[in-house]
């Protein structure tokens, strides 16, 4: 067992790094759906925007470039989310499918605009200088940057947990997930909440894109792969549940990493198998936060 | 008296600390016309859902014709012969009156799984006959969305009867009906054959006393009294429940928390 563990340590750590990224992505997607009933299929495209921003700004391989990319990505994410809130507002009383179709159209547009700007090349993005090396973990060399990703994911999980469980904003979030009508009946402007929620949710997507760039690079089609993984995460975890997003992300991170390392040809089957298994046992995910209509 | 058609023993439903239905025992003989009444919050609607299977019991057993159906889902119970009309009219709005009844009628005639169009003469005839019974034969090709509230209740009854029930459960069928319409409803229900047992939840006590051969009064989730209409009318306990303590329980309507529990 210990031997197996040592042999696969790198894969396991990679799994945690991927899990961290997926958590950042999925928590945004999940909160937006849980609170606002908007299934944002442009979430993956927003992620890819972040990755390409990293390509643009990290060219100098400096901390300044990295943080500029993060800052610009955060701003772009906020604006994109706000725009999305405005666009979906007229559709609020229509079936969920209509909003999903709108975001689907937006994701196609965004992905194509990116490929017009950046072409169809595959870009790789260097890590920020101080994190470019590797450190020794239990005898194996492991990239420092990915360890940092794991740390960022853990910190974010902690922050989200604190905000949701301990603050008044969090109380509002929880109330909205449970019963949105009640919150608007309490006299809170639903539209403002929607702008804020979609803004923050999309910000998480673009920021995750920047953070992921040194691992995944930037290429056309990455948006769909990422969206798929994030959707699987929240389906497994349960829509609207933050704990579910965390557990789902960690599970799928390991499935992606260990699965690809151990049985490369069957990794997709394992991904789907995990999804199927969870849904057979818990049709609404592990931590079903709300009753989906 | 033979075994009751429907028997509940120790049936309870809790929502957290609230006991919406609390250890109800009830035996309803085949062929009877039984009314469930009680002030708001007495647990009538919850009990109704526990019988139809729309909501699982917290404890206790439900038996139909002597066999335990507690573990069966709503659609399995419907196939055993439980049919219902719902308190909030629940029809297929985009379809015509006839199509609505036909959906129920075709379940009991061959060909419902057919993948090619069929005339379904038998089911169609049954549906038209039922529409004539409830007085809607002229409206059979009207979309349900265009009907008045009272007419929709009539369609509900036709749909419920089209399921060929052994046990017909009616949740406030006369709500929103004009006096003429509710008189017609009472006539229709009185004319049902003995093979159909009727359980009715109704606020309109005129309808209840015109129809029921036995009445159960629920209060705060418990059975207060089961007896003949005359016994109920003269019972002091019932008077008190409706006029006295019943008022306080207005805020504990058993249907409230039920919405959160739909699975």
């Amino acid at each position: 067992m210990a031997g197996w563990f040592d042999a696969n340590l790198v894969s396991i750590l990679n799994g945690f790094a991927i899990g961290s990224l997926l958590f950042i992505l999925a928590v945004g997607l999940s909160i937006v759906f849980g609170m606002m009933d908007v299934l944002n299929l442009a979430h993956g495209a927003f992620f890819l925007v972040g990755s390409y921003l990293a390509v643009t700004f990290v060219a100098g391989e400096s901390w300044a470039g990295f943080f500029t990319a993060l800052g610009v990505a955060a701003l772009v994410g906020l604006l994109a989310g706000g725009a999305l809130a405005g666009l979906t507002e007229p559709l609020a009383r229509r079936p969920i499918l209509d909003q999903a179709l709108l975001t689907l159209g937006i994701s196609l547009i965004v992905a194509e605009v990116l490929s017009i700007i950046y072409g169809n090349d595959v870009f790789s993005v260097p890590e920020p200088p101080a994190l470019a090396g590797s450190v020794s973990v239990a005898g194996s060399a492991y990239p420092t940057y990915r360890l940092m990703l794991i740390a960022v994911g853990l910190v974010l999980a902690l922050v989200v947990w604190l905000v949701v469980e301990k603050t008044s904003i969090g109380a509002l979030v929880r109330a909205s997930v449970a019963d949105r009508e009640m919150v608007s009946a309490m006299g809170i402007d639903n539209r403002k909440v929607k702008f804020a929620v979609l803004g923050v949710g999309s910000l998480l997507a673009t920021v995750a894109g920047v953070l992921a760039a040194p691992v995944y690079g930037a290429r056309p089609g990455l948006d769909k792969t990422i969206l798929l993984l994030a959707l699987v995460v929240i389906v497994i975890g349960g829509l609207g549940s933050i704990r579910g997003a965390l557990v789902g992300a960690l599970v799928i991170g390991q499935v992606e990493s260990l699965g690809r390392a151990l049985v490369p040809d069957y990794a997709s089957f394992i991904l789907f198998g995990t999804l199927a298994l969870v849904l057979i046992v818990r049709p609404r995910g592990l931590f079903a936060g709300k009753v989906a209509h | 008296m033979s075994e009751p058609l429907l028997s509940l023993s120790g049936v309870s439903r809790h929502f957290g600390a609230l006991k919406a239905v609390d250890a109800v025992d009830l035996g309803i003989p085949a062929g009877s016309r039984h009314a469930l009444i009680g002030p708001n919050g007495a647990g009538k609607s919850t009990l109704f859902k526990l019988i139809t299977g729309a909501m699982p019991v917290s404890s206790g057993t439900v038996a139909l014709g002597g066999s335990d159906i507690t573990g069966l889902s709503e659609n399995q119970r419907a196939r055993r012969g439980i049919s219902q009309t719902l308190q909030h009219s629940s029809l297929f709005l985009t379809q015509t009156v006839l199509q609505n009844v036909l959906l129920a009628a075709q379940r009991h005639h061959p060909g419902r799984r057919s993948l090619v169009p069929r005339r379904q003469a038998a089911a169609r005839e049954r549906a038209r006959a039922l529409l004539a019974d409830v007085g809607l034969e002229q409206r059979s090709d009207t979309p349900v969305a265009a009907l008045s509230h009272g007419e929709r209740r009539q369609v509900e009854v036709a749909v419920a009867l089209a399921c060929e029930p052994r046990l017909l459960l009616l949740d406030e069928p006369a709500a929103g009906m004009s006096p003429a319409e509710s008189a017609r409803l009472v006539g229709l229900l009185q004319a049902l054959p003995e093979s159909v047992t009727v359980v009715i939840v109704e606020h309109d006590l005129d309808v209840v006393f015109a129809l029921a051969t036995s009445v159960t009064v629920l209060h705060l989730g418990r059975v207060l009294l089961t007896g003949s209409p005359d016994q109920v009318r003269t019972s002091d306990a019932v008077q008190e429940a409706y006029l006295g303590t019943g008022r306080e329980s207005l805020f504990l309507d058993g249907t409230g928390p039920a919405h959160l529990e739909v699975s």
């Binding site: 759906f33 299934l39 007229p90 559709l91 229509r94 969920i96 499918l97 999903a100 179709l101 709108l102 689907l104 159209g105 937006i106 196609l108 547009i109 194509e112 605009v113 017009i116 769909k224 792969t225 798929l228 959707l231 699987v232 389906v235 829509l239 997709s268 991904l271 789907f272 999804l275 849904l279 049709p283 609404r284 989906a292 | 139809t52 729309a54 889902s73 709503e74 659609n75 419907a78 049919s83 219902q84 719902l86 629940s90 029809l91 297929f92 709005l93 379809q95 959906l103 075709q106 379940r107 060909g111 419902r112 799984r113 090619v116 169009p117 069929r118 005339r119 379904q120 749909v159 399921c163």
Partner: protein, 343 residues
């Protein structure tokens, strides 16, 4: 269909009770006449147009069948799928592999394609139809992407990202169909059979049960129906017809790419359904025509950025055409009927 002989053979015997029959027969004849004219027009097309146009029309017919199969899910059953291309792609790969390794003799590849689509849909659908709404949307999307990834990874079988090429021409009675016109007739014949099949399902007692589930699932349950079973069968049938369309596609273009199973294709065909008007069956045919024309006619002029235009169409359609072209037609007829609409 059984209505036709009843009402047309004995119109003279119509007593007062059976009076609806002749009018119904006449109504059917009136409705059938334009369809017959349309069919003759469609059949005559290759006599008058260039091979390229015949080829485009063939593709429109195939995507129309694909779109109508999706409409059985989206419009009739109320299950919006974002992974329907999976079954189209499985059908296309099946037909391609059958043609390469066994026979390309006419009905064999498409029939096996339909069977493969139905089996694949049944194998995955039970999981998707257990849950409704957004879960269904996400699960179908996930399953579609899974099939897409498999198509890309199983290079030994599918040719990977190079695609499955070298598919031989369809043969009828041993003769290869190489002329665009002949191929068009073949596609037209099979696609029409597909349309008729889907129309029959949608108008059968089974189909009205599906519509009941779409409108009010809890009520169907209380009537004693098991929505799961009906949705499952509908999903498998839709997968079968999508597979049939995929089989036709493989025979027409003679190369199958992983993208034919992927998210973009699924999104495209959902767009066709929504654009045309879900639930009407004829609307998605129009929607598919528009989508194919936009993608294949204007797309190449955009340097391969056709999806950009499609994205814009998506966004516009959601706001401007909430019920698709069928909604526009509905408005028109309602307006026409409005003056005498009291009765």
């Amino acid at each position: 269909m059984s209505v036709v002989p009843d009402s047309t053979t004995e119109p003279a015997a119509a007593g007062p009770e059976v009076r609806p029959s002749p009018t119904r027969g006449r109504g059917l004849a009136l409705r059938a006449a334009p369809l017959l004219v349309l069919f003759l027009l469609l059949a005559a097309v290759p006599l008058f147009v260039a091979p390229f146009t015949a080829n485009t029309l063939s593709r429109i017919l195939i995507f129309a069948l694909f779109a109508v199969s999706l409409d059985l899910l989206v419009g009739i059953t109320g299950l919006p799928s974002l992974g329907h291309a999976a079954y189209f792609g499985i059908g296309a790969y099946t037909a391609g592999l059958v043609s390469i390794h066994w026979t390309s003799e006419a009905p064999v590849p498409v029939l096996l394609a339909a069977a493969a689509g139905a089996v694949a849909a049944a194998a995955t659908g039970w999981l998707a139809v257990r849950s409704g709404g957004v879960y269904f949307l996400m699960l179908t999307l996930a399953m579609g992407e899974l099939v897409h990834q498999l198509a890309q990874r199983l290079t030994g079988v599918t040719g990977g990202s190079n695609g499955l090429f070298g598919i031989p021409s369809v043969r009828v009675g041993g003769e290869p169909l190489t002329l665009a016109g002949l191929l068009y007739w073949y596609v037209l014949a099979i696609a029409l059979l597909g349309f008729v099949g889907l129309w029959l399902v949608a108008h059968s007692p089974f189909g009205s049960t599906l519509k009941g589930i779409r409108d009010n699932e809890p009520r169907m349950r209380s009537l004693g129906y098991s929505p799961f079973r009906y949705k499952f069968v509908a999903f498998a049938i839709a997968g079968g017809f999508a597979g049939l369309a995929g089989g036709l596609f493989a025979g027409l273009v003679r190369i199958v790419n992983p993208t034919d199973t992927g998210f973009t294709t699924s999104a495209l065909i959902l767009l066709a359904v929504v654009l045309g008007g879900a639930g009407t069956l004829w609307g998605p045919v129009l929607g598919a025509a528009v989508v194919v024309l936009v993608r294949d006619t204007f797309g190449p002029q955009l340097d391969g950025h056709g999806p950009l235009l499609l994205g814009v169409v998506f966004v516009v359609a959601v706001y401007v055409l909430p019920r698709g072209f069928a909604g526009l037609a509905g408005l028109a007829t309602r307006r026409r009927r409005a003056p005498g609409g009291a009765a």
